[in-house]
């Protein structure tokens, strides 16, 4: 019987488990959510904080935020998108606090945007992992977040809009600029070496 329940938990969707956790407050449902997301959250945090200990602390804080706000999760988006939005916002906030980073405005929508940058897309997807890690180390946290959302989490523009609370054209502009800065940093790093 307990094994049957185990199997059911494994097969249940994130939203179903969240619902069960909210109704019963049982540890096993929280553990399942934790099992599914702790590694992913750690990976994202590690892209922002260089120290593993910092990333590990961030996992703790992000989960506390998730638990405190879980009742506000209205299933308007996928649970994973909601979790990632908390993670990215937490990381950006933490870096902003620690470095007193200045945030550039990205709301210059009036600028001409050339969205036909498929070549750039293909190039970016072919860069090897070690190079990506090096470039990500020097990128601005906002650029990192946008690139991770698009290429690691396969989020749609609409979903990224929800996370960053910006308009679609602002997000498209932000992605384009992040890709440009990625390429610039890539060239710079390889030129120096």
């Amino acid at each position: 019987m307990p094994q049957q329940i185990e199997i059911r938990i494994n097969q249940a969707s994130d939203e179903e488990i969240v619902d069960l956790y909210l109704k019963t407050q049982k540890d096993k449902y929280f553990s399942e959510i934790y099992k599914r997301y702790s590694g992913k959250i750690f990976g994202k945090c590690l892209s922002f904080f260089k120290e593993e200990a910092e990333a590990s602390d961030a996992v703790h804080d992000v989960f506390m935020k998730i638990l405190v706000n879980l009742s506000k999760f209205g299933e308007k988006s996928k649970f994973s998108t909601w979790v990632y939005s908390i993670t990215y916002n937490y990381c950006i906030d933490a870096i902003r606090k620690s470095k007193k980073m200045t945030i550039q405005s990205i709301d210059n929508v009036g600028e001409e945007i050339d969205f036909e940058d498929e070549n750039e897309d293909n190039w970016l997807q072919e860069v090897d992992m070690a190079q990506i890690e090096k470039v990500m180390d020097v990128l601005h946290p906002h650029d990192k977040a946008v690139l991770l959302m698009k290429y690691m989490d396969d989020m749609s523009i609409k979903e990224i809009c929800g996370v960053m609370e910006k308009t679609e054209s602002a997000i498209k502009m932000k992605i384009k600029r992040a890709k440009q800065r990625f390429r610039e940093s890539f060239v710079k790093i390889n030129h120096i070496e």
Binding site: Y34, S38, F42, L46, H60, M64, M136
Partner: protein
């Protein structure tokens, strides 16, 4: 599949093996502490409200006692009619 998806994979699996259970325990103990606080408030807040309520009532009683005695004096005529 692009290489962004493989970022930090090695470190993630190391974290899942070593650190993740510790972090989970820490989260659960924090959660239990918050639940304990919540229960404490839930248990004692209504009682405290009751106590304050009773104290106010008592206050009213005592002020009424003083007030009523003088009222009675005023109401009672000095000489029987």
């Amino acid at each position: 599949m692009n290489n962004f998806k493989n970022l930090n994979q090695e470190k993630i699996s190391q974290f899942e093996k070593n650190q993740a259970p510790l972090v989970e325990r820490k989260i659960k103990s924090n959660l239990n502490f918050f639940q304990f606080l919540g229960n404490l408030i839930e248990l004692f807040l209504p009682k405290q409200a009751q106590i304050y309520g009773k104290m106010l009532e008592e206050d009213k009683k005592y002020t009424n006692v003083g007030g009523s005695s003088t009222d009675k004096l005023v109401q009672q005529s000095k000489y029987p009619s």
